[in-house]
């Protein structure tokens, strides 16, 4: 009976990290989405300066380990701006994911047939209007499969905010393990939670993909 009681206590403790993990992932994905779409647009439709800026962002951020970005945000930038560990970690993850998402959206923007832009301009839309109402909705749909992959990667990368002390699933599992000296149970439960989250995420994204598939 003790075993099951302990197990329940351990599980409840780790479970409190679930919402933190979900929070970090959602913030990071949203921030990354905004950065990704904006940078991809600048890269495809911007002038030489913005193209270079967006390309530099993508190359540099992807070349740096995400943990380094988290440390910079938490130990350097958080000295000037008031940032909790949660926000420092999530924003850093989002900034990093934005670089990968910008590559995904760049490909998507470029694979929208050029005739779509021509037709939009022909009915009197400005370039900005055409990108907003014709190109972007199609690009987002085209990007969905690759974006789903990125979403699961960010979910797993959310463990990295551990290093600045955010109490998400993995950190809590580690705390329990240190206290109970039963790493198998603690990390086993963490594994199951991540597995469940990832499977759920893929299901939701597959549904979205089917729902919004573009027929050419």
């Amino acid at each position: 009976m003790d075993f099951f009681q302990d197990l329940a206590t351990t599980f409840n403790f780790i479970l409190q990290g679930l919402w933190v993990t979900i929070g970090v992932t959602l913030v990071a994905l949203s921030v990354g989405f905004v950065f990704g779409v904006v940078m991809a647009m600048l890269r495809v439709y911007g002038n030489a300066f913005f193209r270079a800026l967006a390309a530099a962002y993508s190359v540099i951020v992807r070349a740096v380990p995400v943990v380094v970005i988290i440390f910079i945000l938490f130990f350097v930038i958080a000295r000037f701006v008031n940032l909790s560990p949660f926000w420092a970690g999530s924003l850093a993850l989002g900034f990093a994911s934005g670089a990968y998402q910008s590559e995904i959206f760049r490909g998507a923007f470029q694979s929208v047939p050029p005739g779509q832009m021509t037709a939009a301009r022909a009915i009197g839309m400005s370039r900005v209007q055409a990108i907003q109402s014709i190109i972007l909705p199609q690009a987002v749909r085209l990007a969905l499969p690759a974006w789903g992959n990125e979403a699961t990667l960010v979910l797993k990368d959310s463990t990295l905010v551990f290093v600045v002390g955010v109490p998400e699933i993995l950190r809590r599992a580690q705390q329990v393990s240190a206290r109970t000296l039963e790493p198998f149970i603690a990390f086993g439960l963490a594994l199951l939670l991540y597995l469940a989250l990832t499977l759920l995420t893929t299901q939701v994204l597959q549904w979205l993909e089917r729902r919004y598939r573009l027929q050419m």
Partner: protein
């Protein structure tokens, strides 16, 4: 004709890099005229249409639309394009929108209509091309002829003063061209001014007020269809028109 032309093209040149496509093209078009533009491929027909609606502004030369010089500096190109409808060879329907959505989006985003008003006008335009029952279909669910009719409805929704057709039936199976030509003929009857790049000689004979033969970026010869088909001034015109008329005959 003494009325002022709705469209006047004066000595237009257009180059892409080192390639000169239009070499001093001039033409005036009267209101309600239907001009069919023919010529061998590479003669600059599509480029001319794209110069007229400023998708590719001319390198030099001037164009007036209803007495406003649209090639003048400072003219808002987007505003000009609203007055010039364009229909493309490969339809270019917006793939993420239904037939109705394709017609509506210009009304809500460009003409700034309210949803309800835009919906009603879009349905009216779909009715004009006989596709009310396909309003909820996506482009992928429509036949080529239906796609092109939706594209025409989309252009009509902007209330254009002149319509440009760039080989509207070239991408269609022969049995589907009829439904598109019928819609165009109906438009012509209603008094729409049209410039049609097409090798549908049956349409040219029946509907055109003028046939313009262009080659090498300039007008070679122009005249009423009967004159152009039966007694053209130049041997080159005769040879070209005979060739495409024969080709058409073979297909049918």
């Amino acid at each position: 004709m003494t009325t002022t032309p709705i469209l006047r093209i004066d000595d237009v040149y257009k180059s892409f890099g080192a390639t000169q496509v239009l070499k001093g093209f001039s033409l005036s078009i009267q209101p309600q005229e239907v001009v069919v533009l023919v010529g061998p491929s590479g003669s600059g027909k599509s480029t001319l249409l794209r110069c007229i609606n400023l998708l590719h502004p001319p390198t030099s030369g001037r164009i007036w639309l209803e007495e406003e010089e649209i090639t003048a500096p400072g003219v808002n190109h987007d505003r000009v394009r609203q007055r010039i409808g364009m229909v493309f060879q490969d339809f270019n329907l917006f793939t993420h929108l239904t037939a109705l959505g394709n017609v509506m989006i210009g009304l809500t985003k460009v003409r700034k209509m309210h949803k309800k008003e835009a919906h009603d006008l879009a349905m009216f335009e779909l009715e004009r091309v006989g596709l009310v029952d396909r309003a909820g279909h996506y482009p992928a669910q429509l036949s080529g002829g239906q796609k092109q009719r939706v594209a025409i409805a989309r252009a009509l929704g902007m209330d254009p003063h002149i319509m440009l057709f760039d080989e509207p039936t070239s991408a269609l199976d022969p049995e589907l061209t009829g439904e598109v030509l019928e819609v165009m003929q109906q438009l012509a009857k209603e008094g729409m001014t049209m410039i049609v790049v097409s090798h549908e000689m049956g349409f040219a004979r029946q509907v055109a007020s003028r046939v313009v033969f262009m080659e090498g970026g300039v007008v070679v010869e122009e005249g009423p269809p009967q004159q152009m088909f039966e007694q053209p001034k130049y041997e080159r015109t005769r040879a070209f028109l005979r060739k495409i008329t024969d080709l058409e005959g073979d297909e049918k």
